[in-house]
Amino acid sequence: MSTIKYANAVAAIRAMENTLLSRSDIEQLINCATKAEFENLIASKRGGEDFTLEGVWEMLRGYAPECKELEILLYKNDFHNLKAALKSKIAGKEPEGYYIRPTNLDLKELYPAVSAKEYEALPEYIRSTAEEAYELLTRTLDGQLADSLIDTAAMQAMRKAAEKCGSDFIKSYVELTIVCADIKTAYRCAKMKKQRSFLEMAICGSAELDKDTLVRAALGGAESVLSCVESSSYAEAAKLLAESPAQFEKWCDDVIMELAETARMQAFGAEPLAAYYIAAEAELKDIRILSVCRESGTDKETMTERMRKLYV
């Protein structure tokens, strides 16, 4: 890959980074007395423009339409949309309300393709999963099992695409995503006393926490999962998971953000673009958490604790 790729896009992103929220902006938002004050503060930072993930995605694709690395960031959404289409088909409902955007998939094509079993209309990376999941869902009517199959397939597709694109940043992003998902799945499955067959389908495995070790740990119970994670380089995750699932979720987002921060120093390449998307995702999540906390009357200290790391 050329080291001077996306010079135009990266420079534009650098200019846009000034509109991202900083830690002090978040503190101001936490301290807002009214909802109107909260909304005005966000609007003033954005210069009155809408800030949505879809908008960010469209902007990134506008600057770097051929960037394959960026597409990998949306695989999770793509596979979620597949779940939505499959379940809507089984339940006889309209899937539109369950879709997540942005996505690499053509959502107008997804439901008809799944309904008609015309899987060749879907992108190659999702095709076989769609077929397998549909078959599994119609045979077992077990939504959780189908979800596990799709989630694992999403991770595997991300890993395959990351290896193909060759970007170390994207490979690390995918590995961290897999590690976080695997720890969460193993812990939940251990609590729910899931069978080995389910665990083998639901856990993807990574270099640090391989599939067999995690499956064995999950069969041994939640404590066994925690001690298995503790013995890896993700010991902090085990500690937080034992304390509270919310703290663990925050840790997952924060490690991804720490990775994104490494792209802040890069002047070229797909990494700063991917990092900007990750930053926008984290920021919107923070705003969502703050809005919910404000609605539910959560105290400021708890709100501060729940805030994800920011890119700026």
């Binding site: 080291t3 001077i4 010079a7 135009n8 896009a9 990266v10 420079a11 534009a12 992103i13 650098r14 200019a15 846009m16 980074e17 000034n18 600057y63 002047a267 070229f268």
Partner: protein
């Protein structure tokens, strides 16, 4: 035309050509980055323009070297000298520092200046630092220009 004159003309052509190619690449790269910033914030146009100009100097150095060389051997001026093959090869060699260093330094300066555009985009008040960093690369183009000119003037005709 003597072989010596052919070598000399090749030297002049290389100086203008290679340094020019380097500058075109460098200026083009910074232009790409600058356009990205201006598309978001047009008020930064003048600041990024300075950075874009920096890798353009190597092309000028190549042109200057070619003119001096052609003038030294009398092509510019209308009375071409009768150069021996050795003299021609010497003039060709004299043009190589700015040709090669001009090509490479312009590309690297372009990369540095494009990175400097990122500084201007994010922290416009630190624009000068980006300019200084890119200007550091210029040193080596100047040194190459100097040695090329010294050689051209000191080769006996």
């Amino acid at each position: 035309m003597t072989n010596g004159m052919v070598f000399t003309i090749i030297g002049a052509a290389l100086a203008a050509l290679m340094a020019g190619i380097g500058s075109a690449k460098g200026v083009g790269l910074v232009g790409e980055a600058a356009a990205g910033v201006v598309s978001v914030d047009p008020s930064k146009f003048s600041k990024v323009l300075i950075l874009q100009l920096l890798p353009g100097t190597q092309g000028l150095y190549g042109l200057l070297t070619a003119i001096i060389l052609l003038s030294r051997v009398g092509i510019i001026g209308g009375s071409p000298a009768e150069l021996t093959t050795s003299q021609g090869i010497a003039f060709l060699a004299a043009s190589l520092p700015i040709a090669i260093v001009g090509l490479i330094s312009a590309i690297f300066q372009g990369k540095t200046a494009a990175a400097g555009v990122g500084i201007t985009a994010k922290k416009p008040e630190h624009n000068g630092k980006g300019i200084i960093m890119a200007a550091m690369v210029e040193t080596y183009a100047i040194l190459a220009l100097l040695i090329s000119i010294l050689m051209i003037y000191n080769i006996a005709v």
